[in-house]
Subunit: 132 residues, 2 copies
């Protein structure tokens, strides 16, 4: 599947050298789960599958979130920002955790003054999920 | 003010060529307001002022959000993600709108199939605020 023209014309992949910022938010709780990148193909596949497919900058390939852990993200809504270089996915997070550390959200370190505090909720043990 | 070492060591500015992704979320409602970028100086100033200061890629300078419109973002919490290249600001949005279009959130266009629908809440008239 390719991106429909109306969508393609509204999304600005140029500012990020082919990538846009994608934020995943829990559709029910409103909690921010993670942020990643998408290229045109990953956005098209996300819309086709109804599940989040990102572009991994470190691995330089498509990344169907949860393909290994089973913790996929079912898309409940997609929203584009005013200048077209970021999208918001409202998702149902299967397994209850988005982060590879097993935390519910990737944003589990609170920054105050000169201290970082772990305020995350541990959902699974990454050694059990990835350590096969 | 400079970033304290403990913070500086945890934040990864390298992957984004000196920039990290910054998401602003309404601290009360959980609504995602906008996404922008920060460099080291803008993060230090945000922590110093308690208000969001971004780095404008298009203008290549520090951008104290709301400096023109008055719609500043009072920071209620800062959270760093697992790999240190994105932060989440929980904010109180002064004036009730984050977007330069006068909408409450920048993510006001819903994407479905091949259609974009404006689902935004108009808070102010940008011609009145910026058209001086």
């Amino acid at each position: 599947m390719k991106l429909p023209d109306a969508i393609k014309n509204a999304v600005d992949f140029s500012k990020g050298n082919g990538l846009i910022t994608a934020i995943a938010q829990d559709a029910a709780s409103g909690e921010i789960l993670m942020v990643a990148n998408m290229n045109e193909e990953s956005l098209a596949k996300s819309m086709e599958f109804g599940e989040a497919v990102y572009w991994s900058r470190s691995r330089q390939k498509l990344w169907h979130k949860g393909e290994e852990s089973g913790n996929t993200q079912k898309i409940r809504g997609i929203y584009l920002d005013c200048d077209g270089d970021a999208i918001l996915l409202k998702v149902e997070q299967i397994g209850g955790a988005a982060c590879h550390t097993g935390k519910r959200s990737c944003f589990f370190r609170q920054l105050e003054q000169d201290v970082l505090t772990d305020v995350g909720v541990q959902v699974f043990d990454p050694a059990e999920v990835y350590g096969k």
